[in-house]
């Protein structure tokens, strides 16, 4: 089969008290594509994100990653299963250097414990060297290798976004989930981000992209879903979604 489904989410619902944040959301993401999730403010995009990455517990739903069911019960299990995410409000390990941030991302794919740390035996030394090497490669890949030893919170905003993406990539994810990566960026920075996402896709990785900036999403995504009030109102290739009357109404209001 040429089109392998990486992420298959069925009928996810999530309720916060009286608010139905998500109702019956279905998402199927094909390997190697960029999948967009858009919608007006409060549509439930980030809730959906938090549900599939284990931060919130869903009320209903089926979850499959690369053909295998996974349980989004704990974030670290989800990361281990192969979904890495970034955050809408950047969440770096501020006091650590950039390269250390990415090295933390390797945690889930490495094994050394207390014994290895204290005795520094051959396997531990080799693993540590491999972690550092991979982290440097990833910093280079996202274009901030020269800031490797900088304290991460001293990086510029755009570079912090890049660092967060590098850290997520360090977990060797099957699916890279980006929560509004362009938020707060200027036009030039957005252009740089776009290039980076294209480069990540060219490596054969799959991306789930939540974005506010419709222009960015339309040009970048292979398929997309539009959420409004927690319900999917349109799904398909960007050109079709753009013409969908429900989408136009959600974004511009009725009467257009």
């Amino acid at each position: 089969m040429s089109e392998q489904i990486i992420l298959n989410i069925g009928n996810v619902s999530k309720r916060f008290g009286g608010l139905q944040a998500l109702s019956d959301v279905n998402v199927k993401i094909v390997k190697g594509q960029i999948y967009g999730l858009i919608g007006p403010n409060g549509a439930g995009k980030t809730t959906f994100f938090n549900v599939i990455t284990g931060l919130y517990q869903p009320d209903t739903g089926t979850f499959e990653l690369a053909g295998k069911p996974y349980s989004p019960s704990a974030p670290h299990e989800v990361a281990k299963a192969g979904i890495a995410r970034t955050f809408q409000n950047i969440r770096l390990f501020g006091e650590m250097s950039a390269v250390e941030n990415v090295m933390v991302g390797r945690h889930v794919r490495t094994h050394q414990g207390v014994f290895g740390a204290v005795f520094h035996h051959k396997a531990a030394r080799e693993e540590e060297a491999a972690i550092r090497k991979r982290a440097m490669e990833l910093l280079d890949f996202v274009g901030i290798a020269k800031f490797a030893e900088r304290t991460s919170r001293h990086l510029s905003y755009g570079d912090q976004r890049r660092l967060e993406i590098a850290r997520a990539l360090a977990t060797d994810p099957q699916l890279l989930a980006l929560d509004e990566p362009a938020a707060g960026m200027n036009a030039t920075e957005k252009l740089g981000l776009r290039e980076l996402l294209v480069k990540i896709k060219a490596e054969g990785r799959t991306i789930l992209l939540i974005e506010h900036d419709v222009k960015l999403v339309m040009g970048l995504c292979d398929r997309m879903t539009v959420l409004d009030y927690g319900k999917p109102i349109a799904e398909g290739v960007p050109a079709d979604v753009q013409k969908n009357p429900a989408v136009i109404e959600a974004y511009l209001g009725g009467g257009h």
Binding site: P75, H76, A84, V104, H107, V108, Q112, A117, H154, S156
Partner: protein
Amino acid sequence: MANYFDTKKNPRKAYTGMAIIAVVAIVFPFVSANFGNSWVRIVDLSLLYIMLALGLNIVVGFAGLLDLGYIAFYALGAYMTGLLASPQFAVVLQSFVDTYPTLGNGLLWLFGAEVAKNGIHLSVWAIVPLGAALAGFFGALLGAPTLKLRGDYLAIVTLGFGEIIRIFMNNLNLPVNITNGPQGINDIDPVSVFGVSLAGEQGSHGIVHFLGISMPSVNAYYFLFLILCIAIVFVTVRLQHSRLGRAFVAIREDEIAAKAMGINTRNVKLLAFAMGASFGGVSGAMFAAFQGFVSPESFSFTESITVLSMVVLGGMGHIPGVILGGVILAALPEILRHVVEPIQMALFGQVLMDAAILRLLLLGLAMVLIMLNRPAGIWPAPKHEDRPDADIDNPGKSTDVVAV
């Protein structure tokens, strides 16, 4: 002084610094022995505090979990030694026999007549790992219910735990006498290494002969504590620059992001608690053997605060800073105790203020000044930018920010 002791970035400076410290550390007791044993004794106790501060630094400095009851682990190590290396266990068995004859006789049968007569006397080789294991176990036990707590809330729970342990020690003399209550446990065996008692043989007036060298008992303990301290420094330094050390710091910096990066925060936090506690347990065990006596008074809440102050004042998360904090806060009060009254006598011809009062005043003043002028501690971790390989002179343009 940011780059001392950084063997990777600046090996020559680091090794020179270490060599100087090593020479001073070895020569110190022999020199100061000429001025009486009290100075070495002060440093012995400082070394115990440094072990405590290094252990607490794992919990507070690395993992960012504020622990106000840390002295409980020190107490556990000390009381464990009190029970397993003194005649106390015979008292415990007798008390069981008197109160619950069936259970007591069962225990008597289990432990045998020898223990019932003389108590248990384990050697230091068993005491150190047992102390570490027991305290580590209790560390994890304390950690388990507090996993979801952070900051103030965690501090309150740990404070309670510290008090619970102390109050237990104070009251476990009824209905069966285990800890002797407020009277404490006496006659704890001194440490003996390779058949040499570090308290000195009977009739030797506290002179220890070891490897052909004669030294006072306090000097022998000094070297034992120094070795333990170095071992703990070694473990924490290695830990800091490892996968686990990074996981600790990641949890401190942002727990949600750490989870999202696949760190099992529950296990890593429990490990931090257990490791920190185990160092406290070792230190407590050594304290008991050194003093020969433990009582609940030694483990009051102020002690927890003192150890925490060492970590915070020295520089949270920075090992040399924590050691410095330990040296200053453990030794300074003792030094002041010795010099405050003579100075007053010399200046005013009479003692105007009691040493104990002035000591606390000066300590408080020092803390306020340090926190005002150096909020990150006296010797905080160097910023990444200050390290020689961070090219600060030519940092290059940021990738995205361009002038339009």
